[in-house]
């Protein structure tokens, strides 16, 4: 039988965001796979050159609706390093807390999508119901369910409501119990293991060769986690475990994320119980950042986020480079699609928890229909924001 090329994307019912995976199939087996990214570019790195650091912070909050705290944290880490600002400890603790709550919501979201992709819709409904608990906390702390806007240069924008800490702790207890339940489901519910074990295996060697990061790498036995490698905020004093799994298959990626949910609950509880006193932000932060350069690294829910900031002594950054974890993980996932079955492609692609908005943050212009240049205007962005993209 002749080989057939099957495009999944850029627009495709199985994808939530536009990206192209071009699969060459021989019968049901995928013999070749390639990816084309760039369908979701918004010109952010260029726009950042014309914005003040504070405006860039707001812009980068909108790189992604799921891991917005990841990007702003990464950006402030780099910017504060250049400016030589030492954030008060309470500010760092609140950043850590929001980061872990974000990880919990993101992993629960992913668990639901993974369940949905393999026809286990009960898991989807359950995990998304539980996710509302953490979304409520995020909304109370930050004022928003998404695009938290908690980070600012020199600390956080709001203090955490002290009188609510007990309520949050109770919600964290429930979340931890539910996470334990999902771990039980993963290990004891036979259909899940039967569907996912041995499927789309990314070997440890391949994962290292292709620089896989985050849970995708950890599920292949690569012990990579910025919270351990290079602790930022207050991670150096929090006791928690680095979760890895050796199988490298889809099942491993479920196990790693479910066990990480439990760890994140522990971290969130530790931070809430040991919230340092004092100010949560610096009173004075310079508008002009002295010339210099720095790299911010942050462990997002999907893996290593890295920002490079070059300052030139003005109010605007000279360059503010962003690289989101999905960008780093697509090559490994595409590589391992080869040899898989086409029926496994949706869950295989979903297994890296792809976020294409993060991956594509750059280009500017295009209108396919008219062939004219068109631009994303602020009102279009706000429209998209309202639609929750």
């Amino acid at each position: 039988m002749a080989e057939i090329k099957v495009p999944i994307g850029p627009q495709h019912p199985a994808l939530e965001e536009p990206e192209l995976f071009l699969l060459t199939v021989d019968g049901e087996e995928i013999v070749d796979a390639e990816a084309r990214i760039g369908y979701n570019h918004r010109g952010m790195e260029k726009s950042a050159e014309f914005r003040s650091y504070m405006q860039v912070l707001y812009l980068y909050e909108r790189i992604c609706g799921i891991c917005s705290h990841t990007h702003t944290s990464c950006f402030v880490l780099a910017t504060e390093e250049i400016a030589g600002l030492e954030v008060p400890k309470r500010g760092k603790a609140i950043r850590t807390l929001v980061g872990e709550l974000e990880r919990i919501h993101s992993h629960l979201l992913w668990l639901g999508i993974a369940g949905h992709e393999i026809g286990f819709d009960t898991l989807w409904m359950y995990s998304w119901r539980d996710r509302e608990l953490v979304m409520d906390i995020l909304e109370e702390i930050c004022g928003n369910r998404v695009n938290y806007g908690i980070n600012t240069i020199g600390g956080v924008r709001r203090d955490i409501p002290v009188e609510k800490i007990d309520d949050y702790l109770k919600a964290i207890d429930i979340l931890e119990e539910r996470s334990g339940y999902y771990a039980k489901v993963a290990f004891e519910e036979g259909t899940l293991a039967a569907r996912l074990s041995g499927v789309h295996v990314l070997t440890k060697e391949k994962a290292i060769e292709l620089c896989t990061c985050g849970p995708t790498g950890r599920a292949s036995g690569v012990a990579t986690d910025i919270r351990f490698e290079e602790p930022y905020f207050i991670y150096d004093e929090i006791p928690f475990d680095l979760i890895t799994w050796e199988s490298g298959d889809l099942f491993g990626r479920v196990v790693v994320r479910v066990l990480e949910l439990i760890e994140s609950c522990k971290i969130a509880r530790y931070v809430l119980q040991n919230m340092p006193d004092g100010p949560y932000r610096l009173e004075k932060v310079p508008k002009k950042i002295p010339a210099g350069e720095a790299v911010g690294r942050y462990e997002g829910p999907r893996g290593e986020d890295i920002h490079y900031v070059r300052a030139n002594g003005t109010e605007c950054p000279d360059r503010a480079k962003v690289r989101a974890p999905t960008y780093q993980n697509i090559p490994a996932v595409v590589e391992t699609l080869k040899g898989s079955y086409i029926a496994d492609a949706p869950i295989a692609i979903a297994s890296m928890d792809p976020c294409f908005s993060c991956t594509d943050r750059m280009a500017v212009v295009r209108d396919i229909r008219s062939g004219k240049e068109s631009r994303m205007r602020v009102r279009d962005l706000s429209k998209l924001a309202k639609e929750g993209k």
Partner: protein
Amino acid sequence: MSREFKNIDAELKSDLETQFGQKVEVVNTRPHRLFVTIDRDNLVEVIQYLKEKHGLTYLSTITGLDAVEHFEVIYHLFLDGAQINVKAIIPTDDPRIASVTPMLPIANWYEKEVSEMLGITIEGHPNPEGYMQLPEDWPEGEYPLRKNWPAKERGVR
């Protein structure tokens, strides 16, 4: 899991300076951060050395930037204990640099991004044709991350 954070900054700095002498300028901006400035002709040699001597496997990303008097391409690398940024300086009138994809396959897309955003030719890139990030019908000779690219006229705001 042990929580010891190795610090190999000083060791690495002196090793690179011994090995490459005048060819490298190593700055240790803070713990776990090294900036290594090199001429673009020495790129392959330095990456190869880090790979063979120090077991480098991890490339985070590649930043390309226009510093007006020259271009810079920065390779963000990670070794256990140190994050290294190898900064290659490229003259603006001869924008080309060797590909590191043969040594670090993950570089493939990052190099392509640098190439199309800044118009820097990546010599020996396995897949130089076409755009990866930019639209297929992007006009030739327009490099959006160059400082002299007429951003405002093109609608960037």
